[in-house]
């Protein structure tokens, strides 16, 4: 994976047989740990949150579709909708929990893409939209039809960290 450990990264987190109900709080805890370690001064300030994934409907869609098999949307509740289409759900959830008014966006990329997402995010930093960008890369690794795991990498960008200094 391209978006992984760097100057400010935590170890990769792998969640086997993910408990989707606990996924948001789990990610929040990871983020708070890393933030307080590296950027406590920006914890409630200009922190931008960017969830990077390869599908808009990141992890939840699969379990959602499984849950409605045979029923096809019967009984769908709003909570389920926004769990299954987190679109900006995870990013928004974190912006609320971490109390930041800077942009919280989902950016889509394939794991092998060579597009410079972090370079675009850096433009937001240089244009004062935010001071620190927290990048969360969320990908699903399907072991087989029934088993899957979430791979979560967290890293940070700010105006002083140069790309060359953290590339592997």
């Amino acid at each position: 994976m391209r978006y992984m450990s760097n100057l400010y990264a935590r170890d990769r987190v792998i969640i086997d047989e993910a408990d989707w109900n606990g996924f948001y709080p789990f990610v929040k805890d990871c983020c708070i740990n890393e933030l307080t370690k590296h950027f406590p001064e920006y914890y409630n300030d200009k922190l931008g949150i960017f969830v990077v994934s390869d599908t808009v409907q990141q992890p939840y869609i699969r379990s959602f579709f499984k849950s409605i098999e045979g029923t096809h949307y019967r009984g769908m509740a709003s909570s389920k909708l926004f769990r299954c289409t987190p679109v900006n759900g995870l990013a928004s959830f974190l912006s609320i929990e971490l109390k930041t008014n800077s942009p919280a966006l989902t950016l889509l990329a394939n794991q092998d893409d060579e597009i410079g997402i972090d370079e675009y995010v850096r433009l937001l930093i240089s244009n004062n939209f935010l001071k620190v960008a927290m990048m969360l890369c969320v990908y699903i690794d399907y072991v087989n039809e029934e088993q899957y795991r979430v791979i979560l990498d967290i890293y940070f960008l700010n105006s002083t960290v140069k790309r060359d200094s953290y590339d592997e």
Partner: protein, 378 residues
């Protein structure tokens, strides 16, 4: 300061037009693209702003890619960008649902065996191939502000000298999943959409795609390209308030409107009033907070095209761009009994327009805005 960024090409397909001319004429005439449509898979009829009569040429009926190709082709032809320049031109896309229709199709067609193969690249691969792009598109998903954030970030890349030209597009397709979802939030109107109306009851959904070519002013002038408008600013905020409900104080709307504009008489606001009780109240409070009772005229066209969600930043943005190009102020469609003191037009009106601020709000709390400026009146 950075480089000046202008719009040199536009293209769209939506409920009231299969190209920009038809779309703009439809807006001026107040033609509604809203009609009742039966969604066979859930055996329910919804009033929606759907695209009518479009025949997909792709084997898999990938309407998401089809609509994007359609609108991007129009924007490229309009801007007269040379084919030789295309491969190196970046493409930015905004979408809230990212072709969820295709996932449904695959799941049903392949009996749920092919879901693993889906990711966003599956949907956009036809675009790369069709236009011969070298780079993979950069995709932003922030619910209803998706394509506005894509446009804003593309604007920054040009302003700061990373690129000379970017194609920016937004797209959304209608499907029963999102209809059922919005309905379950009680955010959907049953009959008509009435933004800023005292009797508003929610939104009606639409579908569509829009694309713009943006580039440096210098580049556009050198090519002798037609310049529609200048993009003079971009803002994006998170409310950090609630996943579904906006901050009713309007404080973040107020911040999104904070551009350097000397007078309000030559400015209009194209806002994302979706006809829901709370969203429109937040926008209303935000604009009163920013401008007071003498706020710029407020416009919205969702009542005739439906809410195109993540595509709305570009689809409606093209209306703002045409508005400033033709010096025609847009009306607030759908309103009958407006909120107290709201300043708006019932019909389009010729007037001197230096600025249009296009503001978009979203579930999840992201608020974004783009400041369009007239190049001729600057």
């Amino acid at each position: 300061m950075g480089k000046r960024v202008v719009v040199s090409g536009v293209g769209t397909i939506n409920a009231i037009g299969c190209d920009t001319t038809q779309y703009w004429n439809g807006i001026l005439a107040g033609i509604s693209g809203i009609s009742a449509k039966m969604f066979e898979d859930i055996k329910k009829t919804f009033k929606v702003g759907d695209i009518k009569g479009f025949v997909s040429t792709s084997k898999e009926e990938n309407f998401f890619a089809d609509y994007l190709i359609h609108s991007i082709s129009e924007a490229l032809n309009d801007s007269k960008v040379g084919v030789s320049d295309l491969p190196d031109t970046p493409l930015f896309i905004g979408t809230a649902l990212g072709n969820i229709s295709q996932i449904e199709t695959q799941l049903i067609r392949f009996n749920h065996d092919r879901f693993d193969s889906y990711n966003i690249a599956e949907s956009i691969r036809p675009l790369k191939r069709y236009f011969g792009l070298k780079m993979n598109p950069f995709i932003v998903s922030s619910t209803c502000t998706s394509s506005m954030n894509a446009l804003g970030m593309a604007y920054l890349t040009i302003k700061d000298g990373m690129y000379d030209r970017v194609i920016v597009a937004g797209c959304e397709t209608l499907n029963s999943h999102i209809l059922a979802g919005i309905r379950s939030t009680k955010g959907m109107a049953l009959d008509s959409m009435k933004p800023f109306d005292l009797a508003r009851s929610g939104m009606l959904l639409g579908e569509g795609a829009g694309a713009v070519v943006i580039e440096t002013l210098e580049n556009a002038e050198k090519r002798n390209a037609h310049i529609y408008a200048e993009i003079a600013g971009y803002k994006s905020y998170s409310e950090a308030y609630h996943l579904m409900v906006p901050d009713l104080t309007g404080e973040n709307i107020n911040k999104a409107l904070d551009y350097d504009i000397s007078q309000t008489s030559d400015t209009t606001l194209l806002v994302s009033a979706n006809g829901t009780k709370y969203n429109d109240e937040a926008i209303y409070n935000g604009l009163l907070k920013k401008y007071g009772n003498n706020h710029p005229l407020v416009a919205d066209i969702k009542a005739i095209i439906g809410h195109t969600l993540g595509a709305s930043g570009i689809v409606e943005g093209i209306a703002a761009i045409k508005s400033i190009e033709t010096q025609t102020a847009l009306p607030l469609y759908g309103v009958e009994n407006a909120m107290s003191g709201l300043r708006y037009l019932k019909k389009p009106k010729d007037m001197e327009l230096k600025n249009i601020i296009h503001v978009s709000t979203s579930f999840g709390g992201n608020i974004a805005s783009i400041h369009y400026k007239s190049v001729n009146l600057a």
